[in-house]
Amino acid sequence: MKQIQIFKTDNPRLFLFYPIFFLLFCALIAGLAWRQIIQKESFESQEVLQSMRRILNPGTRGNIYDRNGKLLVGNRPVFSAVAYLGALKDDLRKEYYTCVKLAKQKHSKIDFNAVRKEARLNVLQRHLDTINSIIGRNEKIKLKDLERHFSQRLLLPFPLIQDLSPEEYARLTEQIPVDAPIQLFTDSARYYPYGPAAAHVLGYVGTTLNIPEDGVPGKELTTFSLRGKVGKAGMEAFFDEKLQGTSGGDVWKVDPVGYQFQHVAHKAASQGAPIITSIDIDLQLTAEKALGDHTGAVVVLDVNTGEVLTMVSHPTYDLNELTPFIPQATYEAINDKGAWLNRATQGLYPPGSPFKLITTIAGMKANLIDEHTITDCKGKHYVGNRAFHCDRRSGHGLLNVEESIAKSCNILFYQTSLDIGNMALAEQAREFGLGEPTGIEIPFESSHTLVPDSDWKQNKQLGKWMPGDTTNMSIGQGYLLSTPLQMACFMASLARGETRTYPTLIHAPENHTQSSRQKSSPIGLSQEQYQMLLNGMEKATLEGTARRATLSNVRIASKTGTSQAWYQGKRRNIAWHAGFAPADNPTIAIVVMVEETEDDNNYGGGRTTSPIAKKVLRKALLSKTSS
């Protein structure tokens, strides 16, 4: 038998293999080093990406307070019972095997996917039944919801029952063991202590899964977000960024299936910044009550600071019905009564007789009106062949400027407007900010307010500008469109003897100092001219059209109006009351606007809006005196 020499190392043929093996070993070591040293970080980050998940948790929104520190918008906790699926892993596995065993007994062929679903449903329903027995409900799990949760939101707790009542929450707190897989979960919903008051100003929120990261660690990780809130209207939308809290979050190590395995990092969420609005909720409630069931708006401004003390728009809605979500029926009910519209900032109306003040100012500036101006009102005024009527068909007789304003006689303004011309009148209106948004801190303020002129009419291809258009415009009719807020700004400006007021919903006491009050260019009237205007407005309150707004011991400057607008083919009156008080040292500017909604309403400025203005002014002046 030939013996094989194994250990002969001096065989020259073997020398060939040494360098080959050496090179191969080098390659192996280099590969090892490459993977262990050079690619170490890449593998580590890959491992992190595969095994870590992040949950983003939105911060609670900031509160909104009125100017006196009363809570207007807060947060209420919403409790729900949830199941932490990671803690149910063993139960799910055992139930799955049981279901498989049962299925094998029944059928020869098993649909494992269906069995898995059944096991999940059984386990979760069992826990839900425990909760049902504690709180006396009979809730069932929807398989569709459960499957969606397992496939998309496995890391998040599965909601079993949402929006528990305080009694249910208390019972579950006490009767669910501290370490059970079923726990209570707390979310927040917006809470409005005054319900429908100032609904259009405050606005409401909707839900979003788009939560800001706010420095929560693990930016590169697969992230699940709990539902957050986003402002949809009013101040909630305008100040959304400020109100949004800072997001918190958790980073979890997950097992291969995706269940929570180990808590790695946590960052607490924090509440958003608070906002102090200029709204005086007591005055707001008074105005809401005074406006009652009328469709319309009330705006009260602080003359000196431009702060909006009250902004009412009716019909309105209860903000609490829109949280935590807007039910379809509620949405439709609000839609049907036209309550989504904020009539104070979005409603477009011909301003009516309060616009006569602008015509007067334009006339005074053009030296067409002075203390000697006397108008003979015979009830109508002819422009060409067309008769333009005064409110009193029988005529007012001889009237000076103050009386024309007080009695809201049209004739003086028809004549003046025709003398100064459309462009000058439009220019004066624009000087007061009509025709452009006020810039108030509420989204969707109407940008369609209009001060018409001949160029505009031509551009719109509505024909040539006619003298009749000018006379219509002089009394706040025709194509003129403004919002109640714009008219309130005009009143505040007039009260200060200036041309512009920039309204704000933010209460800033530092603006109350003399140096930082609202300031714009003066109207451009002499003291006498301005006094004449004021006297006319005061007379309107004392003995004229606004006499229903008279308050004892307070001098009030007012101008009422009744304009006409066409709504769904029907002519409707728009009743106005605009003014400020006290007339000698103005602090409050007010505008009340009421729309006719029925054929038999027969609304008019003095009849309908002045009594409302009186109630609001009384409260406003009382508040001012007490503060």
């Binding site: 911060g59 609670t60 900031g62 509160n63 947060n75 906790p77 425990t130 027995s133 504690i134 305080p166 009694e167 929450y169 208390a170 019972r171 707190t173 006490e174 009767q175 669910i176 063991p177 501290v178 370490d179 707390t186 927040s188 809290g245 918190g248 607490a268 969420a269 924090s270 509440q271």
Partner: protein
């Protein structure tokens, strides 16, 4: 085979024991546990009886004068309690009347079972008492346990003649509570007993508008939780701190020190069968 196998024997023993324990059905474990507890229960009961006897003999040593004084004090206390009892009876009738008027469900009634404490097991891991009454005396799991100073805890396990009470300072003890004079529910949970200090708890989910206004507030039980009757004292809250989410406040609860030296407690056994105290 020799030295190494000898050394491996303990590991084999450990492995075998672990395997056996792993495969033993839960009911057998439970059976062993109950029996081991029942086995030692007489020893603890005997020790407790001995202590009672000791107390009895120490009381016997009091002079006649002391007994006369104690009797007089007791008589005064009795008359005060009699007055309270009559008032309570009148109030109960009023409550019944109001319940009927408002169509409210009646408040749950309880039967009181007084029991001696045979053993206290209070440390950083668990906080429990063993009492000298059990299944034979109608004690049920989850029943509230109280004493003159307020809440003691909840029955955790019941044996034949003994039961284990989980103390309110236990981190596993969580109930719905409320501040005295305020019905809104808050969550109370025990956190343990620090050395040389009062046992403690914490409260969560306190509404943000609630203030302790520089004076400590008493925390009492809320009947909303379904286990405890309303108004039993839990402890005192000295300070509340707002949580970063702004939704709630939380605070520490200081529990009475005598909770740690109780010798007698009362178990409230619900009379109404509909009142479910189990989980």
């Amino acid at each position: 085979m020799g030295k190494s196998s000898v050394h491996a024997r303990p590991l084999v023993l450990l492995g075998c024991l672990l395997l056996i324990w792993w495969f033993v059905p839960p009911f057998i474990k439970s059976f062993v546990q109950v029996n081991f507890f029942e086995l030692q229960a007489p020893a603890w009961s005997a020790a407790s009886h001995l202590k009672d006897l000791q107390l009895y003999w120490s009381l016997r040593n009091h002079s006649q004068q002391e007994l006369i004084e104690a009797g007089r004090d007791l008589a005064r206390l009795n008359s005060a309690y009699e007055l309270s009892r009559q008032k309570e009876a009148a109030l109960n009738k009023e409550i019944e009347h109001l319940e009927k008027m408002l169509n409210l469900p009646p408040l749950p009634n309880y039967n009181y079972e007084v029991a001696r404490v045979t053993r206290r097991d209070i440390n950083q891991w668990w906080q429990q008492l063993v009492i000298r009454k059990g299944k034979d005396h109608g004690i049920i799991e989850g029943a509230p346990v109280v004493y003159a100073g307020g809440v003691v805890g909840r029955i955790q396990k019941v044996f034949k003649n003994t039961a284990i009470v989980e103390l309110i300072s236990s981190p596993n003890f969580r109930i719905a509570a409320s501040f005295e004079g305020d019905r809104r529910p808050v969550i109370y949970q025990g956190v343990g007993t620090p050395a040389f200090s009062n046992p403690r708890g914490i409260i969560h989910n306190v509404p943000p508008d609630y203030t302790t206004e520089s004076t400590p507030k008493r925390l009492v039980t809320s009947r909303l939780g379904g286990t405890f009757p309303e108004g039993l004292v839990l402890g005192q809250v000295d300070e509340l701190k707002a949580r970063s989410d702004g939704l709630f406040q939380e605070g520490k609860v200081s529990l009475p020190q005598n909770l740690m030296s109780l010798s007698e407690v009362a178990i409230l056994i619900p009379l109404d069968e509909d009142v479910d105290t189990t989980i």
